[in-house]
């Protein structure tokens, strides 16, 4: 693949060599053009930047600050485990989006947010001034103790972690055990862990032909959180041992042993492969910026503006509206946010009845998939987004190909 380096991005790389100089990119000619900085280039961040420029055009300058030059989609990533996809199949770069929509890209980490000066300090020493700040940085993990995630991977952010888990899975022999833990809600991608358990169990049983490999699922939640009928039936079919209401209290990466509580009793379990998906909270920048209440960032769902600090918007997995944390709805929230920012900059009232939607296909084997669909509407009395129509589709081969039609358009709407 080619990387097109526009002169604009080269400009961005080299400005502010002196770290104390505040930089407002592309504003030399027109200092009145508002500068919107989006931190995070995943499903919500990339979509927000794209739609800000698609709808706001040259009336706004948009910069995305994303640590990684390549984004690996968590959506479809469980198919890396059964070999149907590779992480490179799920990788996206930003060159096309950047040049097509005139979006500035900076690949760095934000170390500090000065809310008074509206200035970000980056790990590369540069600083970036913003008029509006959108935080779309995803999730962080709450580990129960310090252990080596290259030995006990979460594989809940795609990329290297996923490849580690894939290698461990492929090193299994018949009779070995695969144990995964599901975090307490809310966590990223509600069906994802159950989907993973199904894909792994199917892979071990039907692809590898193991009759004695055992898959165990320890779920911090009292029940399967979504599509319980579909995943419950698949667990029975695959012989997955499912233990609800279990709380992981310790992870030992030397012996691959979990300590967990079940019915108030502390137990231990050792497993050939241990896939601990820890409990989750908003990305660290939410805490750095001081826009969290508890683990998440409360926002006004009409705009996704922080209820704590004007001019800072939080979309995607870090936001605390109660909507699911997942790529499809992150893309959906980003459009509401982009439109609201443009309305605000133009002195136009916010829409009072936004609609967002969530949809996802989950593979349940190498040939089948299920789906879950929901539309969320704004409830003015509770000032929150509430599901107005939720429906699940059963596991079926006909859904398997549709899963890729869905993901291709979602990927394209986000990154192209």
């Amino acid at each position: 693949m080619k990387t097109t380096s526009s002169s604009r991005r080269n400009f961005m790389k080299f400005v502010g060599v002196s770290s104390l100089v505040a930089v407002t990119p592309m504003m030399a000619a027109d200092t009145n053009t508002p500068h919107i900085v989006v931190v995070g280039g995943g499903f919500s961040g990339a979509t927000c930047a794209k739609y800000l420029k698609m709808w706001g055009g040259s009336s706004v300058n948009v910069t995305v600050i994303e640590e990684n030059p390549t984004y690996v989609s968590p959506i479809l990533s469980n198919l890396v485990l059964n070999g149907q996809k590779t992480t490179s199949d799920l990788s996206f770069t930003y060159g096309g989006l950047s040049s097509k929509y005139s979006i500035n890209m900076i690949h760095s980490i934000v170390n500090n947010v000065d809310k008074k000066a509206k200035t970000l300090t980056l790990a590369n020493g540069n600083s970036v001034k913003y008029d509006k700040l959108v935080l779309a940085a995803g999730i962080d993990f709450i580990k129960v103790n310090d252990y080596d995630i290259t030995k006990v991977p979460h594989a809940w952010k795609a990329g290297e972690q996923l490849n580690i888990l894939k290698e461990q899975l492929d090193a299994m022999v018949d009779g070995d055990t695969f144990t995964m833990t599901i975090p307490a809600a809310p966590y990223r991608c509600p069906p994802g862990p159950y989907e993973r358990a199904c894909v792994v169990a199917d892979y071990l049983k039907n692809t590898k032909g193991f009759s004695n490999a055992k898959v165990t699922v320890l779920d911090a939640n009292p029940n399967i959180t979504v599509e319980a009928d579909t995943f419950g039936a698949k667990f029975v079919e695959y012989g997955v041992e499912y233990k609800p209401s279990t709380t992981v209290t310790a992870v030992d990466d030397n012996t691959n042993t979990l300590t967990y509580t079940e019915d108030s009793v502390s137990k231990t379990l050792s497993s050939t492969v241990l896939n601990v998906i820890p409990n989750q909270k908003a990305a660290s920048i939410i805490f750095t910026a001081g826009v969290n209440t508890g683990n998440w960032a409360p926002v006004n769902p009409l705009s996704y503006e922080s209820v704590m600090t004007n001019g800072i918007y939080i979309i995607g997995d870090s936001q605390g509206t109660g909507q699911p944390k997942a790529g499809h709805i992150g893309n959906s929230e980003a459009k509401i946010c982009a439109d609201a920012i443009l309305r605000t900059l133009n002195g136009i009232a916010l829409l009072t009845s936004p609609k967002t939607n969530s949809a996802c296909y989950s593979p349940t084997s190498a040939t089948t998939a299920s789906w879950l669909s929901a539309v969320f509407k704004y409830d003015s009395s509770s000032q929150s987004m509430v599901p107005s129509h939720v429906k699940a589709g059963p596991s079926a081969t006909s859904n398997y190909k549709k899963m890729f039609l869905w993901s291709e358009n979602l990927f394209s709407d986000t990154f192209s």
Partner: protein, 356 residues
Amino acid sequence: MKTTVWKLSAFASALILAGCGGSSTTETATSAIDSLSKISGTVPGTLIEAFCADGSYYKVKSTDNNTNAHPFEIEIPNTVSCSLVMTTNEDNATTRVITQIGMITSDSNGTLFTATNDIDLGNIPLAMDPSDIKDANGDHVSDDILHIQVDGDRIKIEIENPLDDDNDGLVNVYEDDDDDSISNYYDDDDDGDGIRDSDHGGEDDDNDNDNIKKNDKDFDGDGIDDEHDVDDDNDGKHDDDDDKHDDDDDKHDDDDDKHNDDDDKHDDDDDDSYNTPAVILLPTNYTANEGRLLGSQCAQCHGTNGISVNDWDSIAGEKNLLDEIFDDEPIMNAQAHGYTNQEILLIGNWLKTLKK
């Protein structure tokens, strides 16, 4: 497409096969592929083609042995999945019959397969007369797939077929995208845009109906992007070998080892996975539009501004939204119930303003 199962064991040679046009030329790619599997069998005079998931292409003509059963052998990689298409009377536009071949094993079936071992398909009863096949659009491509039963230990059926975007079993190159009764393979203008596909020196690289006139990522329209296509012009030669053996073809060749196309005529210049235009016209100011905001929520499944990148419906220009969304896929129906009639009206009005 419908399926006709052909069981090898059950076959009795009852067909009268006439008009065999077989010659005995053979053209098989020489390539970096280490291991090949040999697919053999007998057919009426036939062109046998294999389209493979790495973009490679192989073809062979059956050998006329003065019987009704002309033998053929075609070698394809044993690690890459491929799809077979067989054409009788291939040199005659009015009598040719094109048949997509499928494979059936005891537990699977499909038109894309990896031949892990040599396979003898036995005698394959291909139709010789267009009137003998079901062909609704008259493009000489049989609407039925001829499935052949084979030993599941010798092949692996693949579920996801990159050579078949609409998942009907028939490879892309034999679809009739513009519905002009000429399949893409024989159509000088696959997408009916009035510009001949062969005018590559001009502005049109567009063999694949993606409406991309320049920077086309899939020159031969087989569904495999040039970047990943080891034979991006389906000339039967691997691109790496092309420069040495195929001088007439320098537009689609490859001087490096990545199988991509360094001349930039068919590249994916915008560095994304989808070949959308590299630059779009952005507005100079913001105009509020409630229908656009509501309708932008369709894009996750139907593409930005209603233009889908795959076989799911593009909804730009949609005129009957209300009918469509409640009488469609279950997941569409589920989504539709989340919107009020007023909201659907706003979305519909916005979609009508979009160009298809």
